[in-house]
């Protein structure tokens, strides 16, 4: 595989595309090999990572241990919301969450090395340390989602069957867009790491509960200003066949894929603008 990487870029467009793909594949394979080299560490990581998502779900169960309804929703209904959110966040974190390391790459100058290679900067960054250990978390999220939608007593129609597949995927795209957009802040402000957390992990917590529990400008900002209401709350309402206590019409739940695409477009623009703004730290 090393030969493929070392070969000079060929003129033919098709050849270049296949060469690029082979290079990405090589990057991915190298990552998989290096991360599984230390078996015990990898297993500990797998277990540790699933723990975080488990505790998020446990928290919801504990809260329902001391109350019978949360923001007007029962445990079974709330679990559908948690399921979509956990699965989507864990999967997006697995695929794109690595971008969190961008501030470090910018600070250490490693980002320069990424930019001079004849491959896209974003895919390279994502593949450079694809955190395979997070697979366990995504699988647990999926299990919660499956249990939640099968036990919530949903009145299945063809439309809802489609939505139960499309909505979590749209949520993954949405969270992925949030990861990329917040990471681009570090092109302007290097020490912004924790700031991004407030939107990414904050968004995860926000989407784990019915938005009726929040209030005022805070709810307006997160739910509709940033669009987190469309990740799990509105799709869950559509699946459960419940009217929105806050008064939005029922079809809003079906707009989740559209909102996710808008978010992805915003992320793409933010990334391009950020890269153009980037000046090496010179280190």
């Amino acid at each position: 595989m090393a030969e493929t990487l070392a070969e000079p870029a060929r003129p033919a467009e098709a050849d270049r595309a296949s060469g690029g793909l082979a290079a990405y594949r090589a990057l991915l394979r190298a990552q998989a090999r290096s991360q599984t080299a230390y078996r015990t560490s990898f297993v500990v990581d797998l277990v540790g990572n699933v723990g975080a998502t488990v505790f998020d779900v446990v928290t919801v169960l504990v809260l329902f241990g001391v109350t019978t309804e949360l923001g007007g929703f029962t445990l079974r209904e709330a679990l559908v919301i948690v399921g979509i959110s956990s699965f989507a966040f864990a999967t997006a974190d697995l695929l794109v969450g690595n971008i969190e390391r961008l501030p470090r790459y910018v600070r250490t100058g490693l980002f320069d090395a990424v930019l001079v290679r004849p491959l896209g900067a974003l895919p390279q960054l994502l593949l450079m340390d694809l955190p395979l250990r997070k697979v366990s978390r995504a699988l647990f999220g999926l299990a919660v989602l499956v249990v939640a939608v099968t036990s919530a007593g949903i009145d299945w129609t063809p439309g809802r069957l489609a939505l139960v597949v499309v909505a979590p995927v749209a949520a993954v795209v949405f969270f992925g867009a949030v990861f990329v957009t917040t990471a681009t802040v570090s092109f302007y402000w290097i020490d912004s790491g924790e700031l991004a957390n407030s939107v990414t992990y904050g968004g995860r917590d926000f989407t784990s509960y019915p938005i009726t529990v929040y209030d005022g400008w805070f709810r307006a900002l997160f739910a509709y200003g940033m669009g987190f209401a469309f990740v799990s709350y509105h799709p869950a309402l559509a699946l459960l066949g419940r009217a929105d206590p806050l008064g939005l019409p029922a079809w809003v739940g079906w707009t989740a894929p559209g909102v996710a695409l808008v978010a992805a477009a915003v992320a793409a623009v933010a990334w391009r603008v950020g890269i153009r703004h980037y000046r090496s730290t010179g280190s």
Binding site: V62, V66, G71, L195, G202
Partner: protein
Amino acid sequence: MGSVTATVAPPTHTNVTRWFRTFGAIVASGFRRQATYRQAAVAGVVTNTVFGFLRCYIFLAVAGAAGTVAGYDRAQLATFVWAGQGLLAVILLWGWTDLADRIRTGEIASDLLRPVHPVTSYLATDLGRAGFAALSRLLPPVLIGPLFFDVYLPRRWATVALFALSVLVAVVLCFGCRFLVNATAYWLQDVRGAMILWTLGSGVLAGLYFPLRFLPEWLQLVLWYATPFPSLFQTPLDVLVERDPAPTQVGLVGLQVAWAVLILAACRLVQRRAERRLVVQGG
């Protein structure tokens, strides 16, 4: 000459005044070191504030129409959340790997040559760090929370003093726990496993995800008496919001002190054991 490790008591009579002066100087340098990371402090405060809103709304929704849950009223829950968001950075539950890093790189050797016991000098540095965090990280959420929520102010004067003491003991205890987790690096090459277990356990068992009073009574007893976790976070906050009558408050802080003494003793024991087998590599 005999052993040159710092844990062996010096042959001459110890000068107490000089000891305190040294301790004070290390505390001051710990404070100054943190004061250089101002941008990070601002980013941290923003994150704490976002999570303050999230947790506060969720717990208030749990209290629901009844307005009380597990012995807390709405104002007490708000104080619990906002003071807790500030306290998080003061006790520094996560993200401290200084000792493990120095053990891994071998720099620990220079710590061992100093005439101050490593546990004492690291504790002093941590107290300085906590002092700066009390100003930069504890105050902002405590001031921001009341702007948006009705908070509970202590009714008994003794509570304020007891809270200050409880926070101080929590810092010392948390330092001790972190020292023990880091010290596994003396035996293990890779402390990630221990670190992951600590991160997972401390978050949920200390009362950060939900107040531990939401749990069944027997489980609370087990947690308080058999683990140090509630003494790290839940106890100072319960003292502040006067969840219990004064005698119980004092008893909880007493339990905290007992845990702090026990854990610090364990730190010294572990350090002593580690020095007997430590071989610093490199040259």
